[in-house]
Amino acid sequence: MVSKNQIAEMYRQIYTIREFEARCVKLYRSGDIRGYFHPYTGEEAVAVGVCSALREDDYITSTHRGHGHFIAKGAQLDRMVAELFGKETGYCGGMGGSMHISDISLGNLGANGIVGGGISHGVGAALGASIRGEDRVAVVFCSDGATNNGVFSESLNLAAIWNLPVIIVIENNHYAVSTPIEKMSRSGKLYQRAEGYGVEASNVDGNDVLSVYAKAKSAVELCSCGKGPIVIEADTYRHAGHHVNDPGTYMPTDVLNEYKQRDPVIIAKKYFLERGGTQTEIDAINSEIDSEINSAIDFAITSPEPSLENFLQIVELS
C-alpha cells in the first residue's frame, strides 16, 4: 500500500511537471524560450509513476517530450529552465536545449531529438551495468511513434537475448506528431509486439500514477532477478498539439475531454485525499511549487549567456 507521504510526493512531482510546462509555454509565447518545445502536459503520471519505482542510480533515456522524465528523475527546476533559455547555468550549458537535456550524474542519459534514438542507449546502459555486475535498471521512455521504427524492434530483441534489466515504457499518447497510432498499427496494442521477442509485457492506464507505479515496481523487481527486459505500454494523451506551435486540431475534442476527465493531476490528488490528505495540504504543496518555479525562472533570466570561449573549449575544434 502506497503511503500518504509517497502519494504526496507523487502528487508534488505531477503538479510540478504540469506547472513547469504551463509556465515555460508562456515564456515560449513571450519569446523568452525558443526552438522546439514539446510539452509533457497530460502524460505526467507515466514519468512520475515509473521514476517513483527507481533508485537514484538507475538510468533513464528520454525523448523529445522529455521535461517530465527529467523532473521525475530528480532534476533541479532552475537548471532546467536555464537550459530552455539557452543559458550557461543550464544542464547542458545552453548547448542542448529542450530536446537534448541530460545529466548523467542523475541517471538521465538524455532527451533525444530523434524518435527512437535513445532506445538502444538504455539497452547499452543496462549491458554496461550487467558487465560490471551492478544491480541497476535502465528505463527507456519511448513513444507510440517510436515503436514503428526499426530500432525499437532491434533493441527490444537485444535486451531480450541478453536478459538485460531494461524496462521499455511505451508512452502511447496516440499520436506520432499528428498521425494517429490507430492508422499506423493494425492491432493498436503495441505492448503485444514484445511477446514475439519472448518478453513479458502489459498495458496500464498511464494517467493513473498508482497503476503505473505498481507496474513499474513489479518490472524493477523482475529485472533485478534476471527476468528483464519488460515492456509496459502506458495509455495516455497529450493535452495539446505535438509542440507549442501545433494547435492539435486533429485531436478529437470528445476524446481529449475524456482524457481530461481522467487528468493525472486530479487522479493523484484523489489518491492523496483518500489517504487522509487535505485540501489545505494540497494548497501548500502547490504554492511551494509555484514559488520554486518562480525562483527557477528568475534564475534563468538572470543567468549569463554561454561564452563563445567555453563553447569552443568544449568542442575542441580541429
Binding site: 538524455g110 554496461g128 575544434l317
Partner: protein, 337 residues
C-alpha cells in the same frame, strides 16, 4: 631488429584489443560473429576464451542498435569496441554515429562522454562488388565530433587502436580488408601511437606524396620505381585523418614544394580535396605546381576484377601524377590541360 617482431596487421589489432581488455575491465567488444567465430577477418580470435561472453559479445545483425548499445554503455562508464563488418554497413548506423555519438559531448555541454570505438573495414577486396568495397572515410571526416583513424601498417594498427580505446571521444577506426594479412614490424614492448600524429613512411626531397590506408603500400611501390628515374618521393601517412597532422604535411610541402594526394575513395567530395585546400590556403607560396589528386573514379565499384582495378588509383596513376607535378615546374605540359 631487436625489440620487434614481424606480425600481421590483424594480429596487431588482436594484440591491441587483448592488452586493452587486460588492463581495463571497462573495455568490451561486440559485433556480428566476433566471439565464437573470432571475426570475419580473425581480428577478435581467441578473445572469447580469454575474457568470456560478458565482454566478447556476438550480436544479431542489427547494426543501428548495436552501435546505439555501444553509445549507451559508453555514456555510462564503459569503453565499448563495436565492430561493424563492412564500412558499407555503417550506412545503417548513421543516426547513432552522427546524431548521437558524435554530438553527445557537445549537446550535453561537455557533461557526457562517449569513449566508444567503432571498428570497421573498407576498400576494395577481390571482386566484392558495389556494397562491400566502398571507401567512405569522407562521411566520418565531414562529421564534427568523430575522430577518424586509418592505419596502413601493423605497427600503426596496434599503436593507434590502443590509443583509440583509451580516448574519451568516439573514434571511427577504419581498417582495410586487403591489409589484414600484410606483415610488419611491431615492437615487443608495450607502446601506443598518439591520435593526431602522422608518420613519414619514406623520406624524400622532390615531392610530397600524401596517402593513407591501403594506398600506402602502393605509394611505396611507386616511389621505389620513381627513384630509379631519379625522383625522390617523400611519403606522408597522416594515419589519423581527424585530427589531421597539418604540421607534418605543411613541413614536408615546404621542403618538397610539390604535392600529390592519393586516396582510394571516389574523388568527389573526398578527404584529398580538403587536404589540397588546406595546402592551398596555408602553403601556397611554397608550391611550384598545382596539387594533384589521384583518386577513385566517381562510381560504384564493379564486380569484374579488371573493371574493379580501373576504379581505384594504380601504381602507374601515382607515378604519372608525380611526374606531372614535377615536370610542370619545368614548363613541360604532360597532358595537364
Amino acid at each position: 631488429m631487436s625489440g620487434t617482431r614481424i606480425i600481421m596487421y590483424r594480429e596487431a589489432l588482436n594484440e591491441a584489443l587483448r592488452e586493452e581488455m587486460e588492463s581495463d575491465p571497462s573495455v568490451f567488444c561486440m559485433g556480428v560473429g566476433i566471439a565464437e567465430r573470432g571475426g570475419s577477418y580473425k581480428v577478435t580470435e581467441g578473445l572469447l576464451d580469454q575474457f568470456g561472453p560478458k565482454r566478447v559479445i556476438d550480436t544479431p545483425i542489427a547494426e543501428a542498435s548495436i552501435t546505439g548499445v555501444g553509445v549507451g554503455a559508453a555514456l555510462t562508464g564503459m569503453r565499448p569496441v563495436v565492430e561493424i563488418l563492412f564500412v558499407d554497413f555503417t550506412l545503417l548506423i548513421m543516426d547513432q554515429l552522427i546524431n548521437q555519438a558524435a554530438k553527445m559531448r557537445f549537446m550535453s555541454g561537455g557533461g557526457s562522454r562517449v569513449p566508444f570505438v567503432l571498428r570497421t573495414q573498407g576498400g576494395i577486396g577481390n571482386g566484392l562488388a558495389a556494397q562491400h568495397s566502398q571507401s567512405l572515410e569522407a562521411i566520418f571526416y565531414h562529421t564534427p565530433g568523430l575522430k577518424l583513424v586509418m592505419p596502413s601498417t601493423a605497427r600503426d594498427a596496434k599503436g593507434l587502436l590502443k590509443s583509440a580505446i583509451r580516448d574519451d571521444e568516439p573514434v571511427v577506426f577504419l581498417e582495410h580488408k586487403l591489409l589484414y594479412k600484410t606483415e610488419g614490424e611491431v615492437p615487443e614492448s608495450d607502446f601506443s601511437i598518439p591520435i593526431g600524429k602522422g608518420d613519414v613512411k619514406r623520406r624524400g626531397r622532390d615531392v610530397t606524396l600524401i596517402a593513407w590506408s591501403n594506398m600506402i603500400p602502393k605509394a611505396l611501390d611507386a616511389s621505389k620505381e620513381l627513384s630509379a628515374e631519379g625522383i625522390d618521393v617523400e611519403i606522408i601517412d597522416p594515419r589519423t585523418l581527424v585530427p589531421l597532422d597539418k604540421e607534418l604535411i605543411l613541413e614536408s610541402v615546404s621542403k618538397t614544394e610539390h604535392v600529390v594526394i592519393v586516396q582510394e575513395a571516389v574523388r568527389r567530395g573526398g578527404v584529398a580535396s580538403d587536404i589540397a585546400s588546406i595546402i592551398m590556403e596555408e602553403a601556397f607560396d611554397y608550391l611550384d605546381a598545382p596539387v594533384r589528386i589521384v583518386a577513385g573514379k566517381n562510381t560504384a565499384i564493379p564486380f569484374n576484377l579488371n573493371l574493379e582495378q580501373s576504379c581505384i588509383p594504380s601504381k602507374e596513376d601515382i607515378k604519372g601524377a608525380v611526374r606531372q607535378v614535377l615536370y610542370s615546374e619545368k614548363g613541360v605540359n604532360h597532358g595537364l590541360c
